[in-house]
Symmetry: C5
Subunit: 356 residues, 5 copies
């Protein structure tokens, strides 16, 4: 996850321009599923134009999976009469989650966090919800909506009878809830990090704290507006959204808020961890300094003392002032006694200072 991850056209480009991006398009797959009861359609299609015949009650769900090429998007937009600006936002990934209300359809952008080998990536999920169709477009690996797809097929029409707005809710719910396992993983990482921090902080701990904090800050930026998207669905009474769907969206909203609050708590904790790290390092420097100081402070005076009696004054015994100690009978034991006394005195001093 890089700091800047938005695709954009050169400033001044005509709005709604669909241009091939660098990481060229892969073959996107299109799948349509009828939302009606009884024997419904559920098949892969090759061209967007094949949808046209199903754009009537009970309606269909069009899943586009993969990085579609601009031409495909343009044709899809023409079939469903979607606004070019919206199609541009689908193509230029890295948008903010948002909801755009058009005359006869809603356009919702969500961000899907995916954790892969401990590193996080975020995929854009675009949803168009009309009276008789719901289009979902995303490039995330794996079959993101498989459970919803299965529920739709197995519900024997009960699911579809609730309309495209309920399907829209179901997909938004999947995208929002996908953050929970990611946050659970983060939570576990934080627990480990904290243990490491408090037990044996190392340079690696610092790097991990910084990297995790960075990921959380960026994740927060990308998930924060999702709360507002769901809130807008709840609050603005869009004619496409049935009153019965509100209770489900409220549940969704609660989850979106809970995710934001968890992210905030995590970030706050990581900021505090950085301070604890600095404290720990200071503590260790302190410990190291204490050992050095104790050893040095004890031995430096002793070394001076032994140095004194290493002087060569006494060699030339021409003067009674010249190191008479060397000639004392108990000179050597005495000097040891003095040195031991100094050492014990210093040790007592350090103990009183609580350095030992």
């Amino acid at each position: 996850m890089t700091y800047f991850n938005k695709d954009y056209h050169p400033p001044g480009t005509e709005p709604g321009t669909l241009v091939e991006r660098d990481g060229a398009a892969t073959a996107a797959t299109l799948r349509i599923t009828g939302i009606g009861s009884g024997k419904t359609i559920d098949k892969q299609i090759a061209t967007p134009e094949e949808c046209r015949e199903y754009l009537q009650p009970p309606g269909i769900w069009i899943q586009v999976h993969g990085k579609p090429d601009p031409a495909l998007l343009q044709r899809l937009g023409e079939v469903l009469e979607l606004h070019p600006l919206a199609m541009e936002d689908v193509l230029n990934a890295g948008q903010r989650p948002k909801i755009d209300v058009f005359d006869d359809h809603l356009f919702v952008i969500m961000n899907l966090p995916v954790m892969n080998d401990g590193r996080i990536s975020v995929y854009q999920v675009s949803l168009f919800c009309g009276q008789h169709y719901l289009v979902s477009l995303h490039e995330a690996p794996g079959d993101l909506f498989s459970r919803v797809h299965k529920r739709l097929l197995e519900s024997n029409g009960r699911f579809g009878a609730r309309g495209t707005d309920y399907l829209l809710y179901a997909l938004i719910d999947v995208v929002i809830d996908t953050a929970f396992p990611v946050l659970e993983r983060f939570g576990e990482e934080l627990e480990e990090l904290e243990t490491e921090l408090l037990d044996a902080p190392s340079r690696k701990t610092l790097v991990t704290i910084h990297r995790t904090r960075r990921e959380l800050v960026m994740l927060r930026r990308m998930l924060w507006p999702q709360r507002e998207v769901v809130n807008s669905l709840l609050r603005d009474e869009h004619p496409l959204i049935d009153a019965g769907t509100y209770i489900y969206l409220r549940d969704c909203y609660d989850h979106a808020v809970q995710i934001i609050e968890l992210l905030e708590t995590y970030r706050d904790t990581l900021t505090s961890m950085l301070d604890v790290y600095i404290s720990s390092i200071s503590n260790r420097t302190n410990d190291i300094m204490r050992v050095l100081t104790i050893i040095a402070t004890i031995f430096i005076p002793l070394t001076f003392v032994v140095g004194v009696y290493g002087m060569n004054f006494g060699n030339n015994s021409h003067s009674p002032w010249a190191m008479p100690e060397l000639n004392w009978y108990y000179g050597y034991p005495l000097i040891w006694a003095v040195m031991i006394a100094v050492a014990i005195g210093l040790l007592w001093y350090f103990r009183r200072k609580k350095w030992l």
Copy 2:
């Protein structure tokens, strides 16, 4: 209290799904208490269906204590006609406090902080308030609502006459006020921590500051929305809430706000304590360095001096330049005088620098 403590279904699961959780269900007890006057019912029941006959004025209070199994919850939901989404929230603990308004009942989730052996845990308390029933579900140890239960039984009908909304208030009040002893305990811990911090900060102090701060950050996240829950009861004029209950709820609201403000104050103080800790450690490093520097700075030059006269130049007295000092009559005392002068000079210098 782990960083992530929410139960959740895999994304895409049908809303309202009730599935057995890991920490399997224990036998939950159901108790019903009539809220009318005179001789009221008050007994443990075995199956939710037994409530059915009492779902009429004056109404009953159904207490579910313990971790109920999904089947029990489902049957309870069916008897009282509760929404499956709400039942899912009861089962999946770790929700945000919230209030959901249904056509004929209110669903309230609160968080109950409990301090046990100095470690905090948070239990979810779920409340359903209908015209003629109030259901409380929680897993907290001990008999949380015993005082309210006693007041209800002993009030000779006066309590119950105020309706299920007053009972709802009484239970919410218990849950909110339970934070006070917890915060009082935290306050005492902070006092102790502060004394330790200012008197004799140790590595343990750092760990305690961090752990306490973490607990406060998470507690704040879990209690913060309770203010909004009570405010919603006050503000939104739910038909189930009688005007006479408002004055009590306002009292509740004041307590919820006071708890949040205390938590904020505590957190702010702990953040400041971390800075004080770093300062203290720096101060101690400073003290240690000063001792080392004074000792080393005094003795290093002296050791050099005695080293000079330990050189063997004078042994070979072939040159008048070869350490004539060794042969001076007062050479040895002189060298001591020089060394004492150097030491005194340095001590004077350190005193002037206020290091002594």
Copy 3:
């Protein structure tokens, strides 16, 4: 001022319960003062019931000073028909400032900061304002409202003619303005602290910064809601508050805001002071290290040099390689020349590095 300073009943206690607190009640004094013109009443009374006859125009001011016992409060509440919940808030000190609107009276709680010997304490002031009475209850030492009392008596009826709402304003004004001398005192402390911090920071400075910051954080928590209380009086058009009193309350509101802003400024400054403290300590460690490094770095090589010539190789003159320097005619002066050169070189190096 402890971190937790609220009196509370065990969770689940019936609302409005009045129970003796630990620090048992002292004899509270009751004083009533008529607010009408001419010869008005102004005397101490023994029982609340004595008020009853004056509860009519022009009305009276009932001052309760000291820690009243629950029984007294209960009887006072009965005489004036005050709500038990309000009486409970009067008894259980440590409430948040708030305003409660009842049908025929207002209940206001304010916090009064008092500085005593450099330590701050906060007293709760409770005010009930009805059509014909105003009750003030507080335990603060000294005669808090003496000036207002004197103005009321000396105004010859002009003061009282403005009604109990003007008296309410006058008392609120006293409570709010009492923060100014406290903040002035804090301001002076900050000036002193700053001088100390920038001139000669010591461990005591750190303790004082932390203690002052703690007091400000807690004071802020206790005074912050007062702004909202006054704002509510201004905004909500209570029937008891006369339009002519608004201009005075607006003045009060300005003061409340100014106090909050001063507290914020002080707190911000203290946070910054902690950083400056850390910087100062780092600076001193730096100075100390520099002295050690200069002395050690100069003498360590010199000590090595003199150590070299203290080796006993030259004693046994069996080899021309064995320290011939010892036998050079100018050996000893030469070694001094070398050592002085080394020392000067190092001093030059340190000066270039700006360490000297």
Copy 4:
């Protein structure tokens, strides 16, 4: 600029009391200027009563410059029928900027920052705007409003024709815009400070950062509410303010906002500078430690080696084990070779660690 700079009466003093302040009143000058066209009045007056005759269309501007004595203020208030509370606010300097709306006039308090010899001071400017008069009172040195005065006199009535509200705008505009040169000066100081910080941080840098930050925090507190004052003039549609003046006030509002934003940016930058300062000091300590460590680590082992051969074991050649090295033919060069090898090895080690 001290931390606490508000004049206030003892709590409980009657509102509207005008009492002589400590720093007794200097002779304030009163000047009246007609705002009509043609030959208008423009003279100093001795008593407020002289204004009375001009209180009619087209109106006058009364400038009070200096610290007026209470009696003068009282008489001015009586002549113009100003509220005693407002007069008290004029006398007690150190108010928050605010706007008070009275029946027939507006009362505006602004704060004027003045930089003098690099130190900032803030003066209160009080403005009363009625239908036919505008009173300005301030104690700032110099002739603050000279340009407006000149424009008024030279406009040949065009200025005055726009009414007292336009004059009010013009004066508010002067007060607000006076912050720009002050902020420009601060900006230059920050540039210098930053250069100093990044090139050669010293103890003085720390003191300057703290002092500048303190000044900004306090300036922000005193200027922040000015935005709200101008916004209130724009938003609340006071009858005294003509619609044509709005566009000018909007310009004023933009400036007030820009000043606040600049102050915030400066403060944020200074907070960051404190961190950079700590980093710089740590960096320097690091550099110093590195030099000490390199020197000490190289010479300490060498000094040990030479110490070994200074031992007197070899003197008594009674044992072949007693320092035979001393008698080796190449003993002395060999020991040098060993020591040089150790030194080179350590240097290589330090270079690999990037300490050299």
Copy 5:
């Protein structure tokens, strides 16, 4: 980019004064382009008066590029009847982005960030949008609006048919989107900075972190209000803005918000980087200290030991107490054994403490 970058007149200058600025005017070029279909005008003009004939449907776009002299601005203002206050804001660069609504035209100020050789500068772009004209004025190098100009000319009237409001949108869109490449560049710098910080932090890293943070803080201040400008266009239903343009402005608004959020994320990250930097430096000091401590702590006792046997007590063998060790047969090897044992013991101690 200096801290203070606003041009302003001396306080008290008449509003709307146009005065030559220091960095005198360069020859500004004027270009007019018809927005109608068919053969439209597109030429450079010499005087503003030449515009007059085109001020009718379909309207023209007047581009002023460069630093215009006051006289030119005044004449342009007279031709188009623009307000002098607006012209003053055009001349005095460094304004806050804002929108001013006049009776028959809108005045919009935007800020254009341009990155040049890694250093950022911000240019003011002023836009006037009337019924039949749109004026754009800016001094940014390069042909900022060339793409829009080309689209206008090549659209064969379709572009122009949407009116001046669509042209206004197109230009605002260019200005806002120009921040994307700048932020992309910043993002890359942050990536590099982070790598440097975590791998090999140096003094240069600190300077870069501070400088980048400073630029971001100032950029944020200058771009932040743009969101509000676009929001005002969306929200306030200006009669000049056609409903069909709203969808495009909404897109613009999304981009403005995304830019602000990116800036916030970057700033937050840089603040955290400063902490990481301090930690890294502490870590390195720690490493250095550890090496010093290990070496010193091992050799200081050994040096003491060898110092002991360098004392001259044994030289004068008058006493059996005088260093008999020197005469032991295995004295020298024994002393080595002791010293090696001490060294190994200390190494073992350091390893247990995890310093090795």
